[in-house]
């Protein structure tokens, strides 16, 4: 019995050396040779050319590595690549495959919802997923949805504005220029 169990377990052990891994990234199947301990983020950034997802904390606190897994935003740094097999992985590069920007992307540019842009892929995906689920979010909904994404440049007010505009909710500019003072 114990022997059988051991044999059974032994068969399931993968690695520690590299094993073949199949990932479907932005609709395309890609083959990798990866150690099982490689995260999805590591696979994307260091073993493929899809560097849109960024590594900022590598421990589930910033959201810069956000990708969509079957449409749901997840932290790619917190998922092993082998666990993502058989799922639809969408990175920021996959949002506008034909080069035509989505409404969310357009509004991020129009509202200036970015500065250095390092957090931007994460925010764009988080907001896109929110709008897919909740097409008319309130400001609070946007803040809640984005509370797992950090931005050091302080683009938050305009991320909110971009998300609401993309959903067709009106917002007002908070900037005024006074001349001849």
């Amino acid at each position: 019995m114990a022997q059988e169990l051991n044999k059974h377990n032994a068969e399931k052990i993968q690695g520690p050396d590299a094993i073949p891994v199949q990932l479907t990234i932005n609709g395309k199947a890609q083959a990798f040779q990866l150690e099982p301990r490689v995260t999805l983020l590591d696979a994307l950034r260091n073993h493929s050319t899809q560097t849109g997802a960024k590594e900022v904390c590598d421990r589930a606190t910033c959201g810069a590595c956000t990708v969509l897994l079957d449409g749901v935003p997840v932290y790619a740094c917190m998922l092993l690549a082998i666990e993502a097999q058989g799922r639809e992985i969408t990175t920021v590069e996959g949002l506008a495959p034909d080069g035509k920007l989505t409404k969310v992307q357009e509004e991020f540019i129009a509202c200036d919802g970015l500065q250095c842009g390092y957090c931007t892929p994460g925010f764009v995906l988080t907001v896109s997923a929110l709008l897919a689920k909740n097409p008319k979010p309130s400001e609070t909904d946007v803040r809640k949805a984005c509370s797992g994404n950090l931005c050091r440049c302080g683009s938050y007010p305009r991320v909110v504005e971009a998300a609401l505009k993309a959903a067709g909710v009106a917002t007002a500019s908070k900037c005024e220029v006074l001349t001849n003072v």
């Binding site: 960024k54 390092y118 050091r152």
Partner: protein, 722 residues
């Protein structure tokens, strides 16, 4: 004075970032995204001792790890270590996993040394010495103007207080690092930097290559905030590993690394006395101050304040002033310039004591400021801001809100020099009408690429999207590092100059009298086969320095939990000629938000027992998140006659001071140290036992140590613009 067009089409309007599409689609390749053929992953091995003498480092086992292609030590032979996390060695291999495995196998022989990480402890006699050849506490820099003691004797009101500010980490989201390829004859470095030329020159020097053979490229970079100049230790290591392996090597720091060794805003401790007559005219100011910029501070840096100095009495004119400032060395990572270095510290102490004085005088804090502020523009800003903010209705007696949630308002002002010069640029006007501008500046996220397009478009009468802007490459005409709010004031005039000359040349060659706008293309068509290539450079009269700004804050404080919610920030900022309103406002938001972090959340915490940084990650080092953000309203004063002025730094300065004043106004008790965390509020309100919270140590004896008998007048750097 200004040559800028008086009726601009694009200057001062909203122009979208040229690189917006690249950034929202992931097409933008940052230095951390570079994957040159054959590239290796690199990682740094750091000291686990806060102080030690390293005897030897053995890399043999690390080299033997499958996939590892190279390994180097930072320095051979015996060497000291001054802080936990100091770089000792680095490895490069074909995967991150190989590097992680290799780091675990590096063997170090070392003698740990006594260490001290708390500046107050480090000042005590008998504290462990950070350096063997100099004391931890530097000699104080002393500055005295007027007759301070006599003036205090004549003051109707004198207030005093002790204030302290924390160590704040830059935490740009893209960490420090480079992808570097060193070949036999030359080198290419994709650097996450605020100064491509500083990277080029640093690497050329280290690699003994001519500067012309080293190329630094920064097409996109994920923030720096003052911490990214030169190749850094991580750059040198990547370069050496690349030379050793013959392959490109990428070393990007981990978030953990980022908290240890690549800079911070130094701490400050301030004992302040301020006196005025009964009308509120400031008469006398006295400061005892010290701070720690980590191991690079203290007696070793004969400069006195080291990196820990701050301006005092900040923006106010006081006839009798005495300041004493010292630096204390500790076994901690060194500070680096951080968005308006020195100013937020100076502002917090001074603006806090100003409000104490206002309360004692029974005077409106805005009136007290206007009365004592020598800068006319800021006085106007207070007037505009108080109106807009509804200050008269909102400001009430401290602590007077009924109920457990108390609201309050506060205000503070700021100054920044800025300026900037020296940029060169080149414009090419092609026969088919295509315009290309090249400039060796870099975009940190401030939007300089778009600023360049706006300026060029304005001159040619084209739209900004018609201008191809190429930046971030040392093969382009040189520009300085992006720091000190100097980029826009340094770059815009050079673009103006190049494009103006280009236009003149186009008009001369084509014979078209006014080649702007609709005439541009027809004029270009007359060029035949030869494009116009024109150089330009920064010159006087198009930009200036010295920006003033004020901020108003409104907060709600829950006196049962100590939780502070900032509900509103109003910014009134002068910035000379507004070049791009859209990106300027984003920068203001960004400054305010870093200021909020400084006010309420951020603090590097070190363990005195082990000397390690206890919060080297975002779970425990709290950056402001999207839910913490108040309503931020921005008023920019457009003064084209002053030319272009940078605003990156001034907007970060007064936020924490205004918030601190608003908290004091809300609860009726002042919190003397940043960040204003719930535990400090509860302690101030007597809701928890005294001494139960961290960071409220007894500072008085520490200030006594700063006193020096010699009393030589120092030449402490004056941060204020001339």
């Amino acid at each position: 004075m200004s040559e800028w067009p008086s009726d601009p089409k694009f200057l001062g309007k909203d122009t979208r970032r040229l690189e917006g599409p690249a950034k929202v689609t992931g097409a933008a390749k940052y230095s951390s995204d570079m994957q040159p053929e054959g590239w290796l992953y690199g990682m740094i091995f750091r000291s686990k001792w806060p102080a030690a003498l390293i005897k030897s480092i053995n890399l043999e086992k690390a080299r033997a790890v499958p996939g590892i292609k190279g390994a180097v030590t930072v320095r051979d032979g015996e060497r000291p270590v001054y802080f936990y996390g100091e770089e000792l060695a680095a490895v490069a291999g074909t995967s991150k996993q190989a590097c992680l495995d290799a780091l675990r196998l590096i063997e170090v022989e070392a003698t740990p040394q006594p260490f001290v990480v708390d500046p107050v402890e480090a000042m005590k006699p008998g504290a462990p010495s950070v350096f063997t050849d100099s004391p931890n506490l530097s000699e104080a820099k002393i500055k005295e103007e007027g007759k301070v003691d006599e003036a205090f004797a004549q003051c109707a009101v004198v207030v005093d207080g002790e204030f302290s500010t924390q160590v704040q980490l830059h935490h740009s989201l893209e960490t420090h690092g480079n992808t570097i390829h060193v070949r036999a004859e030359d080198c290419t470095a994709w650097a996450s930097t605020q100064g491509i030329f500083s990277v080029r020159d640093g690497l050329a020097d280290q690699l003994k290559l001519p500067q012309s053979k080293v190329r630094a490229i920064t097409e996109y970079m994920g923030g720096g905030f003052g911490s990214k100049f030169g190749p850094g230790v991580e750059g040198s290591l990547a370069a050496r590993l690349s030379r050793e392996t013959g392959l490109p090597v990428k070393i990007m720091l981990t978030r953990f690394d980022e908290s240890l060794a690549v800079g911070n805003r130094p701490s400050s401790y301030q004992k302040i006395r301020l006196g005025s007559d009964k009308e509120g005219n400031l008469l006398a100011f006295d400061l005892d101050g010290f701070g720690s910029a980590g191991f690079s501070s203290g007696g070793r840096t004969a400069g006195g304040g080291g990196g820990a100095g701050f301006p005092a009495p900040y923006i106010y004119k006081v006839p009798n002033v005495r300041t004493k400032q010292a630096g204390v060395a500790t076994n901690a990572g060194s500070s680096r310039a951080f968005r308006a270095p020195g100013h937020p510290q100076g502002s917090f102490g001074m603006e806090s004591i100003m409000d104490e004085l206002a309360v004692r005088l029974g005077m409106d804090p805005v009136d007290l400021r206007i009365k004592n502020d020598p800068f006319e523009i800021r006085r106007k800003e207070y007037a505009i801001g108080r109106e807009k903010f509804g200050w008269a209705q909102k400001y009430k007696k401290p602590g007077s809100t009924p109920g457990p949630i108390k609201t309050g308002v506060g205000v503070a002002g700021a100054t920044w020099g800025g300026g900037g010069k020296g940029t060169k640029a080149q414009v090419t006007i092609n026969p088919d009408g295509a315009v290309e501008v090249r400039c060796g500046t870099q975009d940190l996220g401030t939007g300089i690429r778009t600023v360049i397009a706006v300026v060029a478009a304005e001159i040619f009468g084209l739209t900004p999207d018609k201008i191809l802007v190429r930046i971030g490459d040392t093969d382009f005409p040189p520009s300085g590092g992006s720091g000190g709010s100097t980029t826009t004031p340094s770059v815009s005039p050079a673009i103006f100059d190049a494009c103006t000359k280009g236009l003149q040349q186009l008009q001369t060659v084509s014979g078209v009298a006014d080649a702007r706008g609709v005439n541009f293309l027809p004029a270009c068509r007359k060029l035949g086969v030869e494009p116009i290539v024109m150089q330009g450079e920064w010159r006087e009269g198009l930009s200036s320095s010295g920006a003033g700004g004020v901020q108003f804050a409104e907060v709600a404080v829950d006196t049962e939990t100590g939780f502070v919610k900032v509900t509103k920030i109003l910014v009134v900022q002068d910035c000379g000629l507004v070049v791009n309103k859209l990106t300027a406002e984003s920068q203001v938001n960004g400054g305010v938000i870093i200021g909020l972090g400084y006010a309420l959340y951020e603090q590097r915490v070190m363990d005195p027992q082990t000397g390690v940084v206890l919060n080297p990650n975002f779970e425990t080092y709290k950056l402001p998140g999207i839910s913490d953000i108040p309503d931020i309203e921005v008023i920019l004063l457009d003064m084209p006659e002053r030319g272009v002025i940078g605003i990156g730094e001034p907007v970060v300065i007064p936020t924490a001071s205004a918030v601190a004043n608003a908290v004091a106004n809300a609860i009726g008790v002042r919190i003397h140290s940043l960040p204003i965390t719930p535990d400090k509020i509860l302690e101030a309100l007597d809701r928890v036992p005294k001494g139960a919270t961290a960071g409220n140590e007894e500072l008085d004896p520490a200030f006594a140590r700063v006193e020096r008998a010699d009393g030589v007048a120092g030449d402490f750097v004056d941060f204020l613009p001339a």
